[in-house]
């Protein structure tokens, strides 16, 4: 079967009951997608499936058939960082970085549907992504700043 990752089709050898996470990490080499728990409770494996944030550890590869998957490796375009990536760097929202790909992708899907969120909406939106290093403070600020930057960009 075929899946589309970061705009490109890949032919997959994996059995249909393999998880999307296993295929991304071990078959296709998208190791930016992390596994923190394997049971849907940490968010570090978050990828976008047709623009929606999903826990790749809970998605069987068969369900990803025909869907457009975006991993962290596919977020920057032509060497230019996505505003969220830049904001995470600037605000000090990255520490160990293990949660970072998942949080950024969750935030991307969230801002796409809610471009001008409040602080508490941001906190709700990333509540499924555990970060043990930052205390979330700088992550929340980075997402707010990215939203504001995008907002300015629109005017």
């Amino acid at each position: 079967m075929k899946i589309n990752v970061n705009g490109r089709d890949y032919k997959i050898a994996a059995k249909p009951w393999r998880t999307l996470l296993e295929v991304l990490r071990y078959e296709l080499g998208f190791t930016g997608t992390k596994e923190g728990c394997g049971t849907g409770s940490c968010g570090s494996c978050t990828v976008l499936m047709d623009g929606k944030a999903v826990n790749a550890c809970l998605v069987f590869i068969a369900e990803a058939k025909g869907k457009a998957i975006t991993t962290i490796e596919g977020l920057s375009r032509e060497g230019k960082l996505h505003p969220l990536q830049q904001a995470f760097i600037d605000e000090g929202a990255v520490q160990c970085g293990f949660c970072t790909p998942g949080v950024i992708l969750t935030a991307k899907a969230f801002l796409d549907s809610n471009p001008q969120p409040s602080e508490s909406q941001i906190r709700e939106a990333i509540a499924g992504n555990l970060c043990r290093c930052t205390g979330y403070d700088k992550i929340v600020r980075a997402i707010m700043n990215a939203a504001q930057a995008a907002d300015k960009g629109r005017v």
Binding site: T31, T39, C42, D90, C96, G97, E119, Y136
Partner: protein, 748 residues
């Protein structure tokens, strides 16, 4: 205006780009050709005799390439497994904690490895587990290890024959005259406080990759807080000389003291040696929770005497830590240099025991044992302040330790910024105003961290375009790469992007102790500073030659070497750098710095938590949180704030929700849904008030940053809950059920 141009600035981390793009390589990301997959067979019992262990059937399974049990571990033939700390304890004839490794398998795939585990036959004879440390201390208690004797510090009468015991370590410290001190007191208060077992909660599970070559040398990729300590531990396990083990650093997805422990790398290396193929092992989250080295449960009894005016005259504490099944470390080592230190207490005693039980062994978690001790002491002070009708912050200011005071361990306190931090907090809270509203309360707590230091080396290679490579042997768990690069940029007059930090492996990098005790930036900065001076001296003498001057006449400022008093005669750092690599040039400039024997710079802090308690559900919400901490000098305020905010959040988890739930010594809540850690909705923005009273030690007046902010959180939250509800909780965590029960009892 700061006198520095790079130091002190809020600069993004040098490793941030690789982390927002997913390029950063963690140990689970390492792939090698023909990689095998390793899995560990673990004990389902917390205490059992192994009657039979038979791996033959598993060995016969297609695709199984190697199996190891305790009898294959070369290190076990040399010395007792009790002396192996933070290494896997492969069971011999007895298991002493649930999930203890019994065997490990390497196979062509994870599935085959898992199948092989099922085929290993182990006959256990279950024994009743010893689970309560108080019972375990009784002479009548069954022994966890028949051959463990209490390590008493300082030693009792020499030559006294002791009996084996479950008390692994017993550390006693006295100062002044306790009895006389209590006699001077107008009020004496004694209470017992308890804390639960909690996990570091790093999001990256343990993983390791190992490969062995034909000459019997092994190469290991593993997340470790110290490359060289990992090398030493793996070499010990394999009984190899240290230069036969090479450890290659990888990014570390959170450590917090929990990743000096090497649960996989030694097994992985042995499997690689046995199979002749590279092996990768990864733990599931369930394994991570059950077989890490979490923080111990504690039972802490504090007795304190004060005068009516609020002066502390005497204090004693008996601290009992549930060490779990192996004597991995002594908490007394930490309590004796960190407890009762933030106040002037002329007469005191400390008695700390690590007691073994049939539970997962405990070891280092961000200020080991000290948040627990401060939960007890700072709750105790809160009670005293209320009884004396004193403002809790005022009581602390009044008793605050100052430079020149003698610490319980006999050390003299150097310059600290405790009073300054207390005053800054008082001012901040005044500005903020009193907390109003039903069920709301504010809690104050302080903390002391003695700090640690290590032995470190640093190399600086000057590249011929004027950039430099800083080569270190220490993994980065706190943003240390960035802070240290800022120091190099400052000293050499370079922009930050001209400093590349390279973390070498154990064969290329200079020695480094390890990243523990909040020592990394503090110690490393001095070594790196010296390497910078070495570079400047070498480049200075090259400049002198070019400028036709004596090296003593050369000064360096803003990237230029110039002859003193003659601005005309100068040459840039870059120009000299260029000349060093010419065929007929002066050869490369390689600066070198080393550090040993720097005393630590104690760090004090004060926290204020504002909470709101829902009296219908018992849920505690943290409404606001502020920290005033003397960091000496914040090399990178962004990074300092980040460390503090992260530690506070971990502390909030400890105070309110995290807990190991055991049944017969087997952990029951082994997913992250059941072992609940704070999410973004559980914490507010965390206000960080940076205080900079430079320490008199080390360079730039730095102090320790990472552990201190963990220490006061438990008490700050519990004190706030008391002020919101009027209920004093002496046991953690303050889950909604616990708080609701307390409120109901209050209303009875």
């Amino acid at each position: 205006m700061s006198k520095y141009s790079v130091v002190g600035r809020r600069l993004p981390r040098v490793d941030a780009l690789s982390k927002v793009t997913g390029e950063a390589v963690f140990s689970g990301d390492i792939a090698l050709p023909h990689l095998l997959h390793g899995k560990v067979l673990r004990s389902p019992y917390s205490h059992a005799v192994i009657r039979r262990l038979d791996v033959r059937k598993a060995q016969g399974l297609d695709g199984v390439m190697a199996i190891i049990t305790a009898s294959d571990v070369p290190g076990y033939k040399k010395r007792s497994e009790l002396t192996f700390s933070e290494l896997p304890h492969l069971a011999k004839d007895k298991v002493v904690y649930a999930e203890q490794p019994v065997a490990a398998v390497a196979a062509l795939s994870k599935e085959i490895a898992e199948k092989a585990l099922d085929l290993i036959r182990v006959d256990y004879e279950a024994l009743p587990p010893v689970l309560d440390p108080l019972e375990a201390m009784e002479p009548t208690s069954p022994l966890i290890h028949q051959d463990l004797y209490t390590n008493i510090i300082p030693n009792p009468e020499p030559g006294k024959k002791d009996r084996p015991s479950n008390i692994a370590y017993h550390v006693k410290i006295n100062k002044g005259d306790l009895e006389a001190g209590f006699k001077e007191a107008d009020m004496i208060l004694e209470n017992t406080y308890r804390t639960q077992k909690v996990h570091h909660g790093f999001i990256e599970p343990f993983a390791a990759v190992a490969a062995a070559d034909a000459n019997g040398k092994v190469t290991v990729w593993t997340q470790s807080q110290g490359l060289f300590i990992a090398r030493q531990m793996i070499a010990q396990f394999l009984d190899l000389p240290r230069n036969r083990v090479k450890v290659i650093p990888v990014e570390i997805g959170g450590a917090f003291g929990g990743k000096t422990y090497q649960p996989l790398a030694p097994l992985c290396a042995l499997l690689a040696m046995k199979s002749g193929r590279p092996v990768r092992m990864e733990m599931t989250r369930d394994e991570v929770l059950k077989d890490s080295r979490p923080a111990p449960e504690s039972i802490i009894t504090v007795k304190m005497g004060v005068t009516d005016q609020g002066t502390i005259t005497a204090a004693s504490a008996e601290l009992i830590y549930d060490a779990g099944a192996f004597p991995e470390m002594s908490h007394g080592m930490f309590t004796s240099s960190n407890v009762f230190c933030q106040y002037k207490i002329p007469n005191l005693s400390l008695d700390t025991k690590d007691v073994l039980t049939n539970k997962v062994p405990s070891a280092y978690y961000r200020a080991p044992g000290i948040p627990q001790a401060h939960f007890a002491i700072e709750s105790h002070l809160d009670i005293i302040a209320r009884r004396l009708k004193m403002d809790p912050l005022e009581l602390r200011i009044q008793n605050a330790a100052v430079k020149g005071d003698t610490l319980p361990n006999g050390e003299i306190l150097p310059r600290v910024g405790f009073k300054e931090s207390l005053e800054k907090m008082a001012e901040y809270l005044k500005q903020k105003g009193n907390l109003t509203g039903r069920n709301r309360g504010r809690g104050i707590a302080c903390g002391f961290w003695h700090g640690a230091v290590g032995s470190f080396g640093a190399y600086i290679q000057v590249n011929n375009n004027g950039s430099v490579n800083l080569i270190l042997g220490i993994t980065d768990i706190s943003g240390s790469r960035t802070s240290i690069a800022q120091i190099v940029a400052e000293e050499l007059g370079l922009p930050l992007n001209k400093v590349t930090v390279v973390i070498g492996d154990t064969e290329t990098a200079p020695w480094a102790t390890m990243s523990v005790g909040s020592l990394t930036v503090y110690s490393l900065s001095t070594a790196v500073y010296r390497a910078c001076q070495d570079v400047k001296a070498q480049m200075g003498s090259l400049a002198a030659k070019k400028l036709g001057a004596d090296p003593s006449e050369i000064e360096f400022s803003k990237g230029l070497f110039q002859v003193k008093g003659n601005t005309e005669k100068s040459i840039s750092f870059t120009e000299i750098a260029r000349s060093t690599a010419m065929t007929f040039g002066k050869g490369p400039v390689l600066g070198r710095g080393a550090l040993d024997g720097l005393p630590p710079a104690p760090t004090l802090s004060v926290h204020a938590a504002d909470v709101e308690v829902d009296d219908e559900t018992g849920k505690v919400r943290i409404k606001a949180y502020a920290v005033a901490q003397d960091v000496g000098l914040a090399i990178n305020p962004l990074s300092v704030e980040g460390q503090i905010q992260g530690a506070v959040t971990q502390g909030i988890g400890w105070a309110l929700m995290e807990n190991y739930i055991f049944e017969k010594g087997v952990m029951q809540n082994t997913t992250l849904l059941d072992y609940r850690m704070p999410t973004a909705t559980d914490v507010p923005m965390i206000e960080v008030l940076i205080v900079e009273v430079g320490s008199s030690r080390g360079v730039y007046g730095l102090r320790h940053v990472g552990e201190p902010p963990m220490i006061p959180v438990l008490a700050a939250v519990a004190n706030a809950v008391h002020s919101a509800t009027g209920v004093r909780f002496k046991e953690l965590p303050l889950t909604p059920e616990v708080v609701l029960k307390g409120i109901k009892q209050r209303d009875k």
